[in-house]
């Protein structure tokens, strides 16, 4: 589905490459975590898949197309088959929830009756039923991210890219977002998610591709986030972190964590999404009208997976 062959990307002549000879092959229906320090090339990877950038070396294949040879006027049709979610949601503040999702269909010229039926379905599916008229600033962060995911998914893309989608969210809300992404993945959509969140990666146990200064240093199935030292080798016990009491064991609290209570809206949205799933809302028998690519033989049927279940099938 996504194949990088010896891909290099140098932004400015003479600068350190953002990606350096990267070889990655992501099958249809996979869920892949892209981890690595800031500046390790995760975002560049995603931008190359969207063809917002072109590689300076090597080839990028997405959904059977060679992006290095794709002419500019075909880029929109490529992007219609890819959904993208960001850390900062990128919703339009002057449009309400419904309009934000509908916008994605309007601008690619979907007929009005399709929009009228599809948008409520996908909103119910992400657990935002009844909040169509809210503006983004009236929603919690988790709800906003759900709107953004609904917008990315409403056109039933084959690929969903997520650039640190939980980066602005508390752990519990993040978990809800991850359930949503997992549900999207279980419909057969390939999901690639760049993240720093070790807890999520460790819990999900999916394929992990680790980048470091533009190189793939690890690519494992069922993997964990990895030790922090591996990712940030240069950060030792810096003086500023040597606060008083550091390293002193605190027996009373075995695993000190700040407990964050998520906003009620996020919890409600998650419950609603679960309920909608039970009822089979937004079921995926709808025909893909962007029949961009034929399935490569041998890859395809995937069973629905629950979040708790670990393990990735490797094709």
């Amino acid at each position: 589905m996504i194949r990088f062959e010896n891909v290099s990307k140098v932004y400015a002549r003479g600068a350190r490459p953002a990606l350096d000879d990267v070889d990655v092959d992501i099958e249809r229906g996979e869920f892949v975590f892209l981890v690595g320090a800031s500046g390790s090339g995760k975002s560049t990877f995603l931008r190359l898949v969207l063809r917002e950038e072109r590689p300076t070396g090597g080839r990028v294949y997405v959904a059977g197309r060679d992006l290095t040879r794709l002419s500019a006027w075909k880029v929109p049709s490529l992007r219609r088959g890819i959904g993208m979610v960001f850390q900062d949601f990128r919703l339009l503040p002057n449009k309400n929830v419904y309009e934000n999702v509908a916008f994605a269909l309007q601008v690619i010229g979907r007929p009005r009756h399709t929009i009228r039926t599809t948008v409520p379905e996908v909103l119910e599916w992400v657990g935002l039923d009844g909040k169509e008229k809210r503006r983004p600033h009236e929603l919690s962060g988790g709800e906003q991210q759900r709107v953004a995911i609904a917008r990315a998914f409403v056109n039933r893309p084959q690929i969903l890219l997520a650039d640190e989608p939980t980066g602005n969210l508390d752990p519990t809300t993040s978990l809800g977002i991850m359930r949503l992404l997992d549900r999207i993945n279980s419909t057969g959509t390939t999901v690639v998610m760049a993240t720093h969140d070790d807890e999520i990666v460790n819990e999900m146990r999916r394929r992990v591709v680790e980048l470091s200064t533009g190189r793939v240093v690890r690519d494992e199935a069922d993997a964990q986030y990895g030790r922090r030292e591996d990712i940030l080798p240069l950060v030792g016990p810096a003086p500023v972190l040597d606060a008083p009491g550091r390293g002193v064991p605190r027996p009373s609290v075995p695993n000190p964590r700040i407990v964050v209570q998520p906003e009620p809206g996020d919890l409600a949205a998650e419950r609603a999404a679960e309920a909608a799933l039970e009822q089979g809302a937004f079921d995926h028998d709808g025909a893909q009208d962007d029949a961009d690519v034929a399935d490569p033989p041998g890859v395809g049927t995937r069973s629905r997976r629950a979040m708790s279940r670990a393990g990735v099938e490797e094709a």
């Binding site: 969207l50 993208m84 990128r90 339009l92 601008v107």
Partner: protein
């Protein structure tokens, strides 16, 4: 669906940039007034030429007695010389000359006597003081130079006169006026183009969020850019319509109602001429908007 969506976008954009849009309208309005004025002056020149050139002739004066011109060294034009001139007119200028008329000395004297029955400035002239001439009406009065080349310097021809020369100062003035108008129009059009560029750029920046998402979800280039182009085009078109209206009023009140009443022997431009150049002005406005928006958008909203 798409059309309605784009129109809503355009209206929002126009409202958001109201002051810039107004300035685009005004600058286009003024520049197109100049373009239109130049076009109307040229129309006026054409009308005058059409009217007056039908009346003008080229006169080929034959040598009278006692002329000092070198070609008249042999005295009054002889029969042979006159025949040679006539042959030259028939053979060499046959295509150019619509009608030829020979005015003999007798006829010239009759015409003179009819015009000045009491003699000219106190002197009593006789038939012998008159001069025979060929009066040529040219099919295309602009071809005078050819006649001069063929007949000038021939023995027996004293001088060739083009009556058109009488109008030249007027036409020169009108042409210079159109040139000035065109020059001012060019400067104003440049200003309008730059202003449209700035307006579109502002609009593009203020809507960066929307266009970013449009590109992300796979809207086509045209779909992303069309609202901006339409914004510029609508502002320019409104300016053009105002310019047409302004010219129409100017022609109606200055020319038709006033000038044509006081000096009525000239065929003036009419409001119909204003409507005839209206498509030109609208076309210039649209071209202006399209060119500046394509240049701007190429840089600001590329996929």
């Amino acid at each position: 669906m798409r059309l309605q969506f784009i129109l809503v976008e355009v209206l929002q954009g126009l409202r958001r940039n109201a002051t810039m849009v107004v300035s685009v309208i005004l600058v286009t309005f003024v520049s197109l007034i100049f373009v239109g004025a130049a076009a109307l002056l040229q129309t006026q020149v054409t009308k005058l030429k059409g009217d007056w050139y039908d009346l003008v002739e080229v006169s080929v004066f034959l040598c009278p007695d006692g002329s000092t011109v070198p070609t008249c060294a042999e005295g009054e034009a002889t029969e042979a010389q006159i025949e040679a001139v006539e042959r030259a007119i028939d053979t060499e200028l046959g295509d150019l000359v619509a009608t030829t008329y020979f005015e003999s000395k007798t006829e010239a004297f009759e015409a003179f006597s009819a015009r000045y029955p009491d003699g000219y400035q106190g002197t009593q002239l006789t038939e012998e003081d008159m001069q025979a001439s060929y009066r040529l009406q040219l099919a295309d009065p602009e071809q005078y130079q050819v006649v001069d080349d063929v007949l000038g310097g021939r023995d027996g021809v004293e001088v060739i006169e083009d009556q058109r020369a009488a109008f030249e100062p007027l036409f020169l003035a009108l042409n210079r006026a159109s040139l000035v108008a065109v020059g001012l129009a060019a400067v104003m059009l440049l200003a309008a183009a730059l202003l449209i560029t700035t307006t579109i750029r502002l609009s593009a920046v203020s809507r960066r969020r929307e266009t970013g998402i449009m590109r992300l979800v796979g809207a086509s280039n045209l779909f992303v850019q069309l609202p901006f182009m339409l914004e510029g085009a609508i502002a320019a078109l409104v300016g053009a319509v105002l310019a047409v209206g302004g010219l129409w009023l100017a022609v109606q009140y200055l020319v038709v109602d006033w000038l044509a009443q006081s000096v009525d022997w000239v065929n003036y431009v009419t409001t119909a001429d204003v409507l005839a150049i209206a498509p030109l002005l609208l076309g210039v406005a649209v071209a202006l908007a399209v060119v500046s928006s394509v240049v701007t958008l190429h840089r600001y909203t590329r996929v």
